[in-house]
Symmetry: C2
């Protein structure tokens, strides 16, 4: 395989640093979907933990290394999941955590960041403005800036999912990975390309926020002026060059899906798995729904990456409104 910034030995070592609560998550087949999807689908469930997303795998590493290095503070920009995870990992280690987010971010995510004791800075703009503001704060205060997908810990943490998938029995044919900044896709992709090279690594992004997918296809960074999707966790506009390079080395494909397919995927997770998830977590099923022929008869794993969602919006999207 082509080189990436990741190293499998380091990823294995990372498992010893991460709270075991976030590791060895459920992986199980959901047969009730199969008549509709036409393929075998297994769920890798990353939501059954205190922060309801996979992000703590990375923040456990970040927080641990910061403390080991004598740091007391860290700031990150976040659509909400990274911030919540960093707040959780930081609180347990006495770190001073600041999270910068868009004022329009998912309210449930912002509420949990506050509840976990982090300082929350809101910006009047989208996630890219939050990234700029977080960088300003880090410079001003002389503290560590954690950059999702760029900082290797976030990729290594996500990559521990890849170790678990590579060790899984029975084996599978393809993995569907939500694509936003790229930490999850490059991390999981790196490990699978090294340990299970026969597995197709397919990244899935909303058509309304296609920057990284377009960049992967063009083999150079392509930015977009807007990002318009309910999948807030993957709604970036400015891919990071180093992350794109890694993605080019490990992804077999990157596909775009419609909002209606994302909602249909959320409904299938509700109807047949009892899981209320955020839109990003349904991207994989959306990809199958949009191209059943591609997956027909194969065994596909989809990573259900987060469940932090505003219930009112969830019910509006899925047609199960609250009374």
């Amino acid at each position: 395989m082509q080189e990436t910034r990741l190293d499998t030995a380091r990823i294995r070592a990372a498992r010893r640093v991460i709270d075991p609560m976030f590791l060895d998550t459920p992986l199980y087949r959901c047969e009730a979907w199969e008549p509709e999807l036409g393929c075998r689908v297994s769920v890798k469930l990353e939501t059954a933990n205190p922060v309801r997303s996979f992000k703590a795998r990375g923040t456990e590493l970040v927080a641990s290394r910061l403390v080991d290095g004598g740091s007391r503070a860290v700031v990150c920009a976040s659509a909400g999941n990274l911030g919540q995870a960093l707040a959780w990992s930081g609180r347990g280690r006495g770190l001073d955590v600041t999270v910068v987010a868009s004022r329009t971010a998912t309210a449930a995510k912002l509420a949990r960041i506050r509840a976990l004791g982090a300082r929350l800075v809101l910006v009047d703009g989208d996630h890219e403005l939050a990234r700029d503001r977080a960088a300003d704060i880090a410079r001003r205060d002389g503290i560590r800036l954690l950059e999702d997908s760029l900082d290797i810990e976030t990729c290594e943490g996500a990559a521990t999912i890849g170790l678990e998938l590579a060790a899984a029995e029975p084996t599978f044919d393809a993995v569907l990975v939500a694509l936003g900044g790229g930490a999850l896709a490059t991390g999981v992709g790196h490990v699978l390309k090294e340990l299970a090279p026969g597995v197709e690594v397919i990244c899935v992004q909303p058509a309304g926020a296609p920057a990284m997918t377009r960049s992967w296809r063009a083999r150079r960074v392509v930015t977009t002026d807007t990002a318009d999707t309910i999948a807030d966790g993957v709604a970036g506009r400015r891919p990071i060059p180093a992350v794109l390079d890694d993605l080019l080395a490990v992804a077999d494909d990157a596909v775009l899906v419609r909002e209606a397919s994302i909602v249909a995927g959320m409904r299938m997770l509700l109807d047949h798995a009892g899981l209320v998830v955020e839109p990003s977590a349904a991207l994989g099923i959306a990809a199958i729904l949009e191209d059943r022929e591609r997956f027909a008869g194969r065994h596909v794993v989809t990573i259900v990456c987060g469940s932090n969602v505003d219930l009112a919006a969830y019910h509006r999207w899925t047609g199960t409104p609250r009374h």
Copy 2:
């Protein structure tokens, strides 16, 4: 501790027979509930597997031992979860599985039993009539009758949850266990009384189906004429004497909760954990809601035991109806 029919060495050995997919399930704290509940609550999640309940821990043992003994067929009565789990475990081992259920059982459960290839026999009556009919079939066909909670495999399988709880860090003060036939409560209770005797074992049953709780309190079998609860998984009327004896040895308390509290518990699992569960899985939270003072400041584990629910009914109960 007092003797029960269970043996911890056998329960440890059972772990080697059960498909690992059903073991070492997530155990995690849900802080978002704590302002409302007034105590630390951790979820032991038994729904992230192919049959969406803890029952496969037991049916894996049953099916494995049947095959080892040369049997080819088995019949059980079930409200739906045991039947689904037995169908799953039997299918993988080439067993001929018959499940007897009430015609009024949860449709989603019956559909999954059929989809897994089991023969489904429906009776015009409640679960107790299904038990009688299953016994008739076993006699007529000369095949093994699996009796939930009476047959030791069902208790030993459930008891493997107790091993995982006893090994958990941080430790906790009390466990809330849904009480129906008694396999889950006696299994988990046996292990905790032996390995973590400081943990209070509290059984929770709906006030509308109180037979086992009344029996525990009276220290003799008390039957009821009716069972009236949405918690179909625990709606028995005729406790089994041997199971009651075990429950008397291991349970510290048995409490009854109202239907409204069960629904409130289901809402909390939806609102703050993203989990759509069946009513039986919300009994533990219902118990906290009805007696906050008892649990104030303590760390309580609740076993989320199943998520097979008819969504139309779920939405009706919880006030989140489908469009």
